[in-house]
């Protein structure tokens, strides 16, 4: 094997998963403005200023899609008085990706108060995305006041129950889950038995070589339960995915990027396109975090995901809006 380059981290092909120390080292760099790209078992880090140097061939795969999240259309407080502008900037960023995404995933909190005009505005802005299809899952803000009826009327066609569904794109199986309904006092996100039973059946007949992408609003791992950043019954959902070689879980809700790898599962949360939130425990509450105006766009962002057949896991790249 060739001598690894200075900023390259290799992971051990013989074991089931990533060299955690190498991964963590890379993620530490990511916090200072680098991105980590995994391709063919090699993780490399690049500073964001070198983004332009990335050869599209490095990123090209069989399937490209982008994730945006937490647009909170209707929010207008000091943390960001122009969520329309920042959502448009996010769409521009997605449109400028070297490998155009085939579709978008929106991992919820589309609206701020579940008002029709808020959903309308987001739909309008997404019309200028080059990717003509967006798949949604609701956030807790999208189901306020009407138990999600407005959300479902708009985005729930073909979905089951409170809006869960699955679809396939080029052999990759996507599952949209809803964990923001029927929340109980003092509780976390919840999937519920009906959805879990559906999920088990949905995954049962798939070959273990099928790459799986699960997307839901609230993280499906325990990021910070004290702030409601977790899902009560996610363990059961994840147990149905043990057999698969590659599982990618994409979430939102926490308004910052975070990643964790556990065996065959890569968990990833996206930044918001509206406002950032503090790191776990680093503030009074998980609410909007004000940053100097000139820094706002650097803490908002999109996520680009590429799948190269035979090279798992999926390559996940976050970039900010500045």
């Amino acid at each position: 094997m060739a001598e690894p380059k200075k900023d390259e981290i290799l992971y051990d092909h013989h074991h089931d998963g990533i060299d955690r120390r190498g991964f963590l080292k890379c993620m530490a760099w990511a916090g200072t403005g680098a991105i980590c790209i995994m391709k063919g078992g090699v993780m490399s880090s690049y500073s964001l200023s070198r983004l332009a140097e990335l050869d599209p061939a490095d990123m090209k795969g069989e399937l490209s899609f982008a994730q945006i999240s937490d647009s909170h259309m209707g929010f207008n407080k000091p943390a960001n008085t122009d969520v329309v502008g920042t959502l448009k900037a996010a769409v521009d960023k997605v449109n400028a990706l070297k490998i155009p995404p085939e579709f978008l995933l929106h991992t919820g909190d589309i609206s701020h108060l579940a008002r029709p005009e808020e959903f309308d505005t987001v739909d309008q802005i997404l019309k200028s995305a080059v990717a003509k299809q967006t798949f949604f899952v609701p956030g807790e803000h999208d189901v306020i006041g009407d138990d999600g009826k407005g959300y479902l009327d708009r985005y729930g066609k073909g979905a089951m129950g409170n809006g869960w569904y699955s679809f396939d794109k080029k052999g990759v199986h996507f599952v949209g889950l809803v964990n923001v309904m029927n929340l109980k006092a003092g509780g976390l996100g919840t999937l519920g038995n009906e959805q879990l039973e559906w999920l088990e059946k949905d995954l049962q007949s798939l070959k273990s070589s099928t790459p799986i992408v699960v997307f839901a609003h609230i993280p499906l791992w325990s990021v910070y339960p004290q702030w409601g950043w977790g899902t009560e019954d996610s363990e059961q959902a994840l147990s149905y995915m043990k057999k698969f070689g590659s599982v990618t879980v994409l979430n939102g809700h926490i308004h910052q990027t975070m990643q964790k790898v556990e065996g065959n599962i890569t968990f990833h949360t996206a930044a918001s396109t509206a406002f950032p939130q503090p790191q776990p425990g680093q503030g009074d509450s998980p609410g909007p975090m004000k940053v100097p105006a000139e820094q706002l766009r650097s803490v908002l962002g999109i996520t680009d995901v590429n799948f190269v057949r035979g090279k798992e896991p999926l390559a996940i790249v976050d970039s900010n809006l500045s």
């Binding site: 407080k77 108060l113 306020i144 109980k184 006092a185 003092g186 702030w227 609410g287 909007p288």
Partner: protein
Amino acid sequence: MNLKQKCVYVLGGGALLVAMAGASAWGFGGREASAPAQETQVKIDNFTFGPQEVNVSTGTTVKWVNRDDIPHTVVSDDKTTFKSKALDTDDAFSYTFTKAGTYPYFCSIHPKMTGKVVVK
């Protein structure tokens, strides 16, 4: 009716009024008969209900005011006793507690936010 009967009526009515006022003063409704309807405020800020537990007497109106920069709701744990719509910043929700009891509640958008009204 003759004068005697009218007098009895008036006396009877007067006695009844006095008796009722007396009953109120002695705690029949839990508070002074002449006191105005009571109101207690709970401030919502930083994903917290403050104070988290309030103790009030029956007939008190509790008014929740949202001073946070994110919307919240006020929903009784059983989801039926009281249930506010989404309260944006500076919106308020009031509920008058007419029956004694303990009323735990939470924010249905951020369920980790919990509070309690104890009514005696």
